[in-house]
């Protein structure tokens, strides 16, 4: 698996929680892979086992050879090391995997990566400009709009779309628009407050 060079250099120099976690999970994954390969042995014809795709993620083109079964979520997390989008239910019921496709919110767990070709994929990692957080990210921090943080990247991606589509005009409208993003910690009131605030600030411009 090839990783972005700058990312590797970054991991070498800085001890991150992500780095520790991926190191620890490596051993477990090594034991799991042969089992998976046995259970899902691909037939001989080539178009079932490999597809060439060019995916534009956060403004950068990636040339990849992938199993057609790969979801966009798995591709982002396992191949591109973009672990912001989270695997919650993996069935389109929780919203933790929300990303933007051509600027619109979509669920990466129900999107086949091969079918995402030709669309601009934006993940939580693509929202900030350098070290300047997106106004919605800043609002979530300011309003303490999360506890464990697992659902937060999906919440923020949906929240950005909510404001962009003009659905942040009232608390009721925000709640309805955001109903596909579940939060087991129950941070909903603060999430609504953060979106309301970010929408106001964005309008002021």
């Amino acid at each position: 698996m090839s990783k972005d060079k700058s990312k590797n250099e970054h991991s070498k120099n800085v001890l991150t929680r992500r780095g520790l976690l991926s190191g620890a999970s490596g051993a477990a994954a090594a034991g799991y892979l042969p089992l998976q390969a046995r259970a899902q042995k691909a037939p001989a014809d080539a178009d079932r086992s490999a597809a060439q795709v060019v995916l534009n993620v956060n403004g950068r083109d990636h040339f990849l050879t992938i199993d057609p079964r790969t979801t966009l979520l798995d591709l982002l997390r396992e191949r591109l090391d973009l672990t912001g989008a989270k695997k919650g239910c993996d069935h389109g019921q929780c919203g933790a995997c929300a990303v933007h496709l051509d600027g619109k919110s979509a669920l990466s767990c129900l999107t086949l990566a091969v079918a995402a070709e030709g669309q601009r994929v934006t993940t939580i990692e693509g929202l900030a400009k350098g070290s300047d957080l997106h106004p919605m990210q800043a609002a979530f921090i300011e309003h303490d709009a999360f506890q464990c943080g697992y659902c937060t990247p999906g919440q923020i991606m949906s929240a950005v779309a909510c404001v962009r589509e003009g659905r942040a005009g009232s608390d009721e409208s925000i709640r309805e628009y955001m109903s596909g993003n579940l939060c087991r910690c129950g941070a909903y009131p603060k999430i609504v407050a953060a979106i309301r605030d970010a929408a106001r600030k964005t309008e002021r411009g």
Partner: protein, 329 residues
């Protein structure tokens, strides 16, 4: 997920060439990918038709009718100004369904073909499901059936049709255009879905390789005075326990014509013709709304856990009818 071949079609002709036995068209994928992960749907080839959106993703609001391309997305349709103003029941049936990201993804054609949410169908650890495995039985008849059908079910299957938009299309007497390599045909939307009978695994009258290309909804005196009322276990992002799609043409205080669809409680998108006929020529007051709802549910067969549903459905329909009559248009 089982392996499959993936083909992208740039034209309908390419799509028809690529489709075959055991293969599936892929549009938004919100049902298909989910059910492939669950090993319920097992296509060996996916034909991605999203590139046909240029042609089949259009919405045409014309004086006599509304034409919706099958690859128009749910969100695109609910937000269309003419759909929202002139066909409110359609716009509401879409905006009250699923969640915002799912509505951005899901196509109209895929939406009407969504599969039941019956747990025995979705969970392959259950052996008995005639819809998933013909001849294996129906675990729902003696199992968890609170959300399943009380209208149109059979001894072989009581799965309910879970969608909303199709209920509104049924009420408005829409037609659907189908196309395959063999040609194009247009049928009443009501004839798209089948009742389960002895063969619940055959859910539609689509011929092999046939694709939905367009829905056409006639503009009628009742389309503007229409609404969709959805009753569910939680206020948002949930399937209907019961829903009612109603459209009324009222003149001088009397119903000239009524169109009524019921969702959540039936084996297919349900048209309540008895209730429509009952209302004709009568004033729409609470007593008549209630009597129409009684007529609509006269044939209901509640299951072991759904004894509450006929009354919930009657109350829902009566409320929808009175609210629709009170609409200012």
């Amino acid at each position: 997920m089982r392996p499959f071949a993936f083909v992208k079609a740039d034209t309908r002709a390419e799509a028809f060439r690529a489709i075959g036995a055991g293969s599936s068209y892929l549009a938004g994928g919100t049902t298909l990918v989910d059910l492939m992960k669950l090993d319920v749907m097992r296509p060996d080839r996916l034909v991605d038709i999203n590139a046909l959106s240029r042609d089949l993703g259009q919405i045409h609001a014309e004086p006599g009718w509304l034409r919706l391309g099958a690859l128009a997305r749910m969100s695109q349709t609910e937000n269309h100004p003419v759909v929202a103003r002139d066909y409110p029941v359609l716009a509401q049936s879409l905006s009250l369904a699923a969640s915002a990201p799912l509505r951005n993804m899901a196509s109209l054609g895929g939406n009407v073909l969504q599969r039941t949410r019956c747990v025995y169908f979705r969970d392959t650890s259950w052996d008995a499901c005639n819809k998933r495995d013909p001849g294996s039985g129906c675990a729902a008849l003696t199992g968890g059936n609170r959300k399943l059908a009380i209208l149109g079910g059979s001894h072989a299957c009581i799965a309910n049709y879970p969608g909303d938009f199709a209920v509104a299309l049924t009420a408005l007497g829409a037609s659907v255009t189908l196309e395959s390599a063999a040609g194009r045909r247009r049928i009443p939307f009501e004839a798209l879905h089948r009742l389960p009978g002895d063969a619940p695994h055959v859910e539609t009258n689509l011929a092999p390789g046939e694709m939905i290309v367009e829905f056409a909804i006639p503009a009628a005196p009742w389309t503007r005075r229409s609404l969709y009322l959805k009753v569910r276990d939680r206020q948002s992002y949930e399937f209907a326990l019961v829903s009612a799609a109603v459209a009324l043409d009222i003149e001088d205080g009397a119903v000239r014509d009524a169109r009524i669809g019921l969702g959540g409680i039936a084996a297919k998108p349900w048209r309540a013709r008895e209730a429509e006929a009952f209302l004709k020529g009568k004033p729409l007051d609470e007593a008549h709304a209630r009597a129409a709802a009684e007529a609509a549910l006269a044939q209901a067969v509640p299951q072991s856990e759904s004894g509450f549903k006929p009354e919930l459905a009657r109350a829902t329909l009566a409320r929808a009818l009175t609210a629709c009559a009170a609409m200012e248009i």
